[in-house]
Amino acid sequence: MAEEGAGREALLESLHNLEERALPVLAERGSADEEALAAAAGMQEAQARTALGWLQSKGLAALVAEEEHREVRLTETGAAYAENGTPEERIWRHLRSAGATAMPVLMEAAGVEKEEQSGAIGALRAAGAITIGPGGKVEATDAPEPATITRDRDLLRAVRERQPAPLESFTPAEQQRLQEMAGGKRKGKGLVAIDLRRRRTYALTEEGKAVARLLAERGVREEIGQLTPAMLQEGSWRGARFRPYYIGLNPPRVLAGKLNSYAEFLDFIRQKLLAMGFTEMRGSLVENEFWDMDALYMPQFHPARNIHDSYYVQEPEYSDPVAEPFATRVAQTHENGGDTGSRGWEYRFDAQRSRRLLLRTQGTALSARTLAAGPKIPGKYFATARCFRYDQVDATHASDFYQVEGIVLGEGVNFRTLLGLLKLFAAEIARATEVAFAPAYFPYTEPSVEMHARHPSLGWMELGGAGLFRPEVTQPLGVSVPVIAWGLGIDRMAMLALGLQDIRDLFSADLDLVRTRKVTETWK
């Protein structure tokens, strides 16, 4: 008994204000549905439904009856007809007051829409209420108002008075007419809507009755919802009961300020590179061919150097002359190797072509400029550079994209430190413990390497390529120590990190997408 009492006290304590207001109504009436409870307790139907649901889950109320019934209400058209009359009624009344009228004038005067006309005229003629005379003039007969007009008007007004009205409250004949009005030949054109409604009736359980009695003894308490500054100033919160919140509800959405996920990913890469001692390089989106290609020992006849691979600037076409001594030294290196110990590409170098302006095709252009500008030795440099290629834009090709690449210079730079650097990248950037190196080809490095790395959850991926700059690149730019050039496949990594399938989504301008996107856990 004591235990039962304690449990009941706890139940009473747990009651939400809505439940406290519902309990007396149910106790007094014996049973109630949502609508009745809402009316009696002065709450909205949705609140009544919530209160009944909670009471039921606590074993205080039980579902005792569930019945379905159909409710009739006017549609927008039906409401208009109830107010102004059906098209038939309006036509008949107009003819009665104005006499014979030509069809277009009649329809305008009676406010009848085009698609309503033939039906209404047909019905009136069938009822013998109108005739169509010579010359197409319409005239009312002497017959009294057709019964169908009277019936429909009365029925629509009855629905208007009582809506939502139970369908069963109409006579069988009226019900049939209402069904016709609801159906309508054309969808959505009905005059009334008939909805199936479910009515659930609840009654208190024995425990519920006991709790209700206890509640009646104690009385419904004042509850604090939102704590207000006034309550704090007055101290009125003391002794009051704080209404417990249902904390399982979905909260309203916050429209937060947010960094772009791709930018965050690039920040992550930058942080890693800074931590490894790299300095950032910046440069122009527009370059000339000299720094984008010639300085990198790509011959001017190279297949990647035509209009099918690079975007050229329309106007002006050429940059200022390239600074000496670089222009001459690079030209000689292409032609015969200059003093680099190379035989060169063996062709006639075109200095004018060097000045041709194009959109930067590779971040390596920044490395070339850095080498020529007197870099620190030892030195490490990187760039996140937007680059452009002449490609059809699709799921795997973007019109412009980021390349992350850079250089490492120093007396201690060699093939094995190159492998070490790549291994370090794999560990730091992709958390990869396993790496595999394979021979690769880039016009400006020899030897050249590409690296595959195994990410702990994403598996093997191509992480990037690297190599030692050819002497034909470094010596004409005035650098005499070995230089590693490296690049990371940043697009693919970013797509994996952001869980994207389409490269174009990296630069999405769809605010909903951008607001909801995050860097996936698999990458971090």
């Binding site: 122009s284 975007y311 060699n414 093939f415 094995r416 909903d512």
Partner: protein
């Protein structure tokens, strides 16, 4: 990058070993090759070295793997050492006419005997021919290849120039004789490659001693002599072009392939009435005798560890190279089907590949350097964090955009732009000169996203500037937009003001007429008296251009002006 197809069985037979697919795949890196697909024994292989045309065929890939498996390549004896006239059979001569010097000056050829051509052999030849003409030969402009049934040819062959209107023959794929002009107009190959002969008054033609046409280089073979079928056993291969090294190299590659398939290669003597880089009589296939001298200390320096001479020699030989040791250096001799050495480092890479990249222990970089962001990126990072703190969402969008987006659609019809000459799509035809089009495009497609919108982009734009050495310059800008039912100038101004407050910088606003904004509700941002950006309420006519149905206010600030 060239991609080829080859049958596994054919590769196995060329390598001379029953390698499984997995074993083969593991050895493809020797040729900088990658297996892309395998379907019913048919392999698709990508070749990454654009400077090694000898590898762009089944024979070449197999040869590189075979050399490694056997520790070296048996010498190819078909190449004629310059000056060794004895080897040239007297009747196999191609005589070149003087006028070709200005048309398509160089030719090389050889004969294949001793094998009956098989289906695999013919397919591979056609594929190699295509790779050499398309990729290496720059769409037949620099190099093109022809193959003939030599049994039908009467020597000497003449490489002559003819009048396009009068010379006729029946080309492959046709039943009737056409003039050369008609071939360029009607034959599919003529249409594809006529650009090579554009502007030439006379066209090249290859005919035999009986005036039978072999081919119309670089367009199409004749049906009479230039149709090779499975079962033929005496063939002529011919290469023409504009760059002699390339022409000779292409012929050399094809000769090595013929030898690899068991053929005997016989040379052809090409006689010119003009000087060539290789003389007036050139017997082909030609032995370039290319070599580089590599000091063992250079190898050690590139590798980062000492190398023993015998090991160096062994690895180079196993990569198919000739080696000769001489006082601490090694003379590395390229086989005649390769001509890619420009510098000793090229031989050093071959050594590293042969030894295996994964056989060398990586060494962690030990040089101490201090990492640092550029000044503009440091400022950009600071600004991005501040603007996010003000409640803005960051977008990143493309820099290439449509001209209208930067002109008429932002109310600035005459804005100077950096435009692309070889436009692929009008949607990506100019470099944006402002972030405003990016922000308005975002608004235009984001009407379903819950309002209010507070969005920014921080990124690069390209500004037209005749005084810059590149005739334009890249600026880093911040663009921020607010869009909701009551978005206004004053709200945008509040955010701009807050930003400058936290950056601890001063700015002024001066009224400005600006096509993007409602007159009287636009201002130029000035920092230190110099223009640094603009702010305003977007004109409804501009909003209409983007289908935007809520008021917008925005500002754009050039961060470079704050440095």
């Amino acid at each position: 990058m060239p991609t080829i197809t080859a049958r596994l069985e054919d590769l196995q037979s060329l390598i001379g070993r029953e390698l499984s697919l997995a074993e083969l795949e593991a050895r493809l890196p020797l040729a900088k090759a990658e297996l892309k697909r395998e379907e019913a024994g048919e392999l698709t292989i990508e070749l990454n070295d654009t400077n090694r045309p000898d590898l762009w065929c089944a024979e070449g890939v197999a040869r590189q793997i075979r050399a490694h498996a056997e520790g070296g390549l048996a010498p190819y004896t078909c190449y004629v050492v310059p000056g060794d006239e004895v080897a040239s059979p007297t009747e196999a001569v191609i005589r070149v006419s003087p006028a070709l010097q200005g048309v398509r000056p160089y030719i090389a050829g050889f004969l294949i005997q001793g094998i009956t051509i098989t289906d695999d052999g013919l397919k591979q030849f056609i594929q190699t021919q295509e790779k050499l003409s398309e990729n290496f030969g720059n769409r037949r402009a620099a190099v093109s290849v022809g193959l003939y049934n030599a049994a039908k040819i009467t020597w000497p062959v003449r490489y002559i120039d003819v009048d396009p209107q009068s010379a006729t023959f029946v080309p492959l794929g046709f039943d009737e004789p056409l003039t050369l002009r008609e071939i360029l107009e009607r034959h599919p190959k003529g249409i594809d490659y006529r650009y090579v002969l554009e502007g030439q008054p006379r066209y090249p033609l290859l005919v035999d001693a009986n005036d039978q046409v072999l081919s119309f280089p670089p367009i199409i073979n004749s049906r009479a002599l230039g149709e090779v079928k499975v079962g033929d056993d005496y063939l002529l291969v011919e290469v023409t072009g504009t760059e002699m090294h390339q022409v000779l190299l292409a012929a050399n590659i094809l000769a090595a392939n013929a030898v690899d398939r068991g053929g005997t290669v016989l040379p052809v003597r090409c006689e010119y009435p003009y000087d060539t880089p290789f003389g007036r009589a050139v017997v082909t296939p030609y032995d370039f005798r290319d070599s580089v001298r590599v000091a063992i200390t250079d190898v050690a320096r590139v590798l980062g560890q000492d190398v023993e001479m015998p090991e160096l020699g062994r690895c180079l030989a196993a990569y198919g190279l000739g080696v000769m040791v001489q006082d601490g250096a090694i003379e590395v001799m390229l086989p005649p089907f390769r001509r890619d050495y420009m510098h000793p480092v090229d031989a050093i890479e071959d050594y590293l590949i042969s030894a295996g990249y994964n056989s060398f222990a990586p060494v962690m970089p030990s040089d101490y350097t201090v990492g640092e962001l550029s000044a503009i990126e440091q400022l950009a990072g600071q600004v991005r964090k501040l603007v996010v703190g003000l409640g803005f969402v960051e977008i990143m969008t493309n820099i290439l955009t449509a001209r209208e987006d930067c002109t008429t659609r932002v109310g600035l019809p005459d804005a100077p732009l950096v435009a692309i000459s070889n436009v692929m799509s009008e949607l990506y035809s100019v470099l944006r000169n402002s972030l405003v089009p990016s922000l308005l495009r975002m608004e235009g497609i984001s009407s379903r996203a819950t309002y209010p919108h507070r969005v920014f982009e921080l990124g690069e734009v390209q500004v037209y500037d005749e005084t810059a050495d590149l005739k334009s310059r890249t600026e880093v800008r911040l663009g921020a937009i607010i869009a909701h039912a009551s978005a206004s100038f004053s709200e945008a101004h509040s955010y701009l003001d807050a930003l400058f407050y936290y950056l601890d910088r001063e700015y002024e606003l001066a009224p400005v007429a600006h096509g993007t904004f409602i007159p009287g509700r636009a201002g130029e941002i000035r920092v230190g008296g110099r223009p640094a950006g603009f702010i305003g309420e977007v004109h409804p006519a501009v909003l209409e251009q983007w289908g935007i149905q809520v008021p917008c206010a925005l500002f754009e600030l050039t961060l470079d002006t704050l440095l």
